[in-house]
């Protein structure tokens, strides 16, 4: 720290008491006890009967699970902290769903990149490195209840180590690719990867 330039200090600002949990907040984030909703357009209405999850593109084995078939896959509880690029973080929440490792193992990807695709047209790009190794899930429950529609129900991607726009709501599949492409927010000013601990919010970060 000593080698850094003198830091700007905001006159008269002390901030909230930096209590327990402060070390779990990435830079620039604040603690939120609710669960705000952020969506670029109207909330899609997707019934479980019309939901399915598909893995296609550069894979050895294209796969599609219906809602009932998906429910037969091994699910696990995922306790996690989540961080939204709009500055709020929610600590100590939990989801339940299927690890993306399980899904990809069955599809056998032949590319290193992916585009997550959602009902309603939303997309977000993720390197497979960020989707594997027990760090990403397709979840259908939040804190013991079915995932609410406004939070992406019936199913959303959950990638808690990246900013939450990567955790695509109303997710319907992954397209595996041999190259990287920007998704929706990544084409609209936001960072390509979005690591909250590196504060990768915008293109220029």
């Amino acid at each position: 720290m000593a080698s850094e330039e003198p830091r700007f200090v905001s006159r008269g600002f002390t901030g909230r008491p930096h209590g327990p949990g402060a070390d779990r907040l990435p830079p620039g984030q604040y603690l939120e006890r609710g669960f705000p909703v952020l969506t670029a357009g109207p909330t899609p209405r997707v019934e479980p009967s019309e939901w399915s999850f598909r893995i296609d593109g550069m894979v050895d084995n294209e796969l599609e699970w219906s809602w009932d078939e998906f429910g037969q896959l091994p699910a696990e509880d995922v306790p996690c902290d989540i961080h939204c690029v709009t500055k709020w973080s929610k600590l100590g929440t939990s989801f339940r769903g299927v690890s993306v490792d399980v899904l990809l193992e069955a599809a056998r990807p032949e590319g290193e990149f992916s585009m997550a695709r959602s009902f309603g047209g939303y997309t977000t790009n993720l390197a497979l490195e960020d989707l594997t190794g027990g760090r990403a899930w397709v979840v259908t429950e939040h804190e013991g209840a079915p995932l609410p529609r406004e939070h992406g129900g019936p199913a959303r991607l959950l990638v808690p180590h990246l900013y939450f726009w990567k955790s695509a709501k109303w997710v319907r599949g992954l397209r595996i690719m041999d190259h990287d492409e920007p998704g929706f927010w990544e084409s609209n000013g936001y960072h390509n990867r979005g690591d909250p601990w590196k504060e990768e919010r915008y293109w220029s970060d």
């Binding site: 830091r7 700007f8 200090v9 905001s10 006159r11 008269g12 600002f13 002390t14 901030g15 909230r16 930096h18 830079p27 620039g28 984030q29 604040y30 939120e32 609710g34 669960f35 705000p36 909703v37 952020l38 969506t39 670029a40 357009g41 109207p42 909330t43 899609p44 709009t86 500055k87 709020w88 309603g120 047209g121 406004e150 929706f184 927010w185 609209n188 000013g189 936001y190 919010r201 915008y202 293109w203 220029s204 970060d205």
Partner: protein, 245 residues
């Protein structure tokens, strides 16, 4: 698009120290902060700036605030900020900052909830959700006055209407908690009660975009009305604020 000021899509992104040039009281809960920027660049209407406060011990708090001023206001931006009683940053802006103070900001950011000159445009805002819409309205008035654009603005009471003296025939204000029989002055077009499906249907355009900004419940209910009035989902752009501060 003809007649609109050229505005940049890419942000400088670097933190800079702005000077608080002017503070205007808009309503009992909102103030507008005019910031003079050493590294100013034109923004797209709808974009935001991030602000960062730093305590002497190094603790920092960041928030995003929509830009209220039009893009051709060279060298400065105006942020209109609602004071949230349990907030951390907005009370600092309201209670501590004075003209001549410095504040650290960076921007402008985001490029989806922005108006690039598409017409016609229906703007629907709830509470301080009117701020980015006012930027669009101001830009249209200055740069493309013929562009069809209407604003529907929901506020609780007359005293809480931001930018009241700038609202003309192109704006309808819906006052949700104003009492019947109380004279309402200084607003050309006003109705008591919430924005309702018939109002949306009457003001809807057959083509073009709708920008909706406000609380999540406001945006959800307005989006449903727009869908019912014939707007396809890809014609509806939303910005929601939950609890923030």
């Amino acid at each position: 698009m003809v007649g609109l000021t050229e505005v940049a899509q890419r942000a400088p992104g670097r933190w800079q120290i702005a000077e608080v040039e002017q503070i205007r009281v808009e309503t009992p809960r909102t103030k507008t902060f005019r910031l003079r920027l050493p590294m100013w660049m034109p923004h797209l209407p709808g974009q935001h700036y991030d602000v960062r406060l730093t305590a002497p011990d190094g603790y920092q708090a960041e928030r995003s605030y929509s830009i209220a001023s039009p893009p051709d206001d060279e060298g400065a931006v105006e942020l209109t900020i609602d004071r949230l009683d349990d907030g951390e940053v907005s009370p600092y802006f309201h209670d501590v900052l004075v003209e001549g103070d410095q504040v650290e900001v960076r921007g402008p950011f985001a490029s989806y909830f922005v108006w690039r000159g598409e017409v016609p445009v229906l703007l629907i805002g709830g509470g301080s959700g009117v701020v980015p819409l006012m930027c669009m309205l101001r830009h249209r008035r200055r740069a493309a006055p013929e562009a069809p654009m209407r604003l529907l603005y929901s506020a609780r009471a007359r005293a809480e209407v931001i930018y009241a003296d700038e609202l003309g025939d192109d704006a309808i204000v819906a006052l949700t908690r104003e009492l019947e029989g109380v004279p309402i002055e200084g607003l050309p077009r006003v109705q008591l009660g919430r924005i309702f499906p018939g109002l949306i249907a009457a003001e809807a355009f057959d083509s073009g975009l709708a920008f909706v900004c406000g609380s999540n419940s406001f945006v959800e209910s307005i989006s449903q009305m727009l869908l019912a009035a014939g707007y396809a989902p890809d014609r509806i752009r939303t910005e929601r604020f939950g609890p923030t501060g």
